[in-house]
């Protein structure tokens, strides 16, 4: 009698346990299915993230490459600027009056150097001629006059220019 009761109890316990295990299994299966759905749904986002990261890496790489290219281009420009001649400055050609005044000033300076004297009268005459001459001639004549004074070829009796 006792053995029968024990057997029935064990059988009942086994049946109850089986039912419990089955329910757990079903719940787990349901959760697994939900997880799979969630993973499937999140895949596009993950893919998109991966693509963005790859794009960022490409972008960084190309930025570095562009910076390098810019440096090389700048270096080439500097080299070219160093070698290239300065842009030509166009000066107007001297007028016949300017040429005449400069010629007269050269003649005056020549006479004065020959005489070995630079007088106040010479200076005043030169002032008028230099005003009528072009700028280049003024420079040339100032150089020649002062050169002759500094070399001792002319004594100076007043102002130089």
């Amino acid at each position: 009698m006792v053995a029968w009761a024990v057997t029935v109890a064990v059988a009942a316990w086994i049946a109850w346990s089986y039912q419990g295990l089955r329910r757990s299994n079903e719940q787990l299966a349901g959760r697994m299915e939900a997880l799979e759905i969630a993973v499937a749904e999140s895949r596009p986002a993950v893919d998109s993230g991966r693509q963005a990261a790859a794009a960022a890496a490409i972008s960084l790489g190309s930025a570095a490459a562009r910076a390098k290219e810019l440096d090389q281009f700048r270096a080439r420009l500097e080299q070219a600027a160093a070698v290239a001649p300065a842009p030509a400055v166009t000066k107007p050609a001297p007028t016949p009056e300017q040429i005449g005044a400069a010629g007269a000033a050269r003649a005056l300076l020549g006479r004065s150097i020959a005489a070995g004297r630079w007088t106040e009268e010479s200076r005043q005459e030169l002032a008028g001629l230099l005003n009528a001459a072009d700028r280049d001639s003024r420079e040339e004549l100032a150089r020649a006059l002062i050169g002759a004074i500094n070399d001792g070829r002319m004594s100076v009796e007043g102002l130089v220019l």
Binding site: N150, L159, V160
Partner: protein, 140 residues
């Protein structure tokens, strides 16, 4: 007693000397830098300096130091400096850079002027002007 009299005499004599010397030294107060015209030739070029006041007050009839600016009718400006020393040696240089011409405009009645140029060049390499109390003002 004799000693006291001698000391009094010494004290009086000292006071007398001080009373004469102190006003004289006070009249000479202040730094003065005589700067006659100097023309020095170096290996690199010529250095010229001087103070117009000292040049004008010099005993010889030659010394002078001047700078001037010519402005032509087209607006072009050319400046120059020239100096003659006591041996009647004259040197000069010219400038056309606006900055250096501005320096020439800074010359006043008690300026110290210095300029230099490299050997064989007529162009001023440098013009220095000092205005201050150290130099003699130009007087009639």
């Amino acid at each position: 007693m004799m000693k006291t009299t001698a000391l009094k005499k010494l004290l009086l004599a000292s006071l007398a000397v001080l009373s004469v010397a102190l006003p004289l030294s006070a009249a000479r107060a202040g730094q003065r830098v005589p700067s006659p015209v100097s023309i020095t030739v170096y290996s690199w070029g010529t250095y010229v300096s001087g103070n117009p006041g000292d040049a004008r007050a010099s005993a010889d009839a030659y010394q002078s130091i001047n700078c001037a600016v010519n402005t032509y009718s087209d607006g072009y400006q050319q400046g120059f400096c020239q100096a003659t020393n006591k041996n009647n040696l004259t040197v000069s240089c010219y400038v056309n850079r606006p900055e250096m011409i501005q320096t020439i405009y800074g010359i006043g009645p008690s300026s110290y002027i210095a300029f230099n140029f490299t050997q064989g060049s007529s162009v001023c390499a440098n013009i220095t002007i000092e205005n201050g109390s150290r130099f003699k003002p130009v007087t009639p």
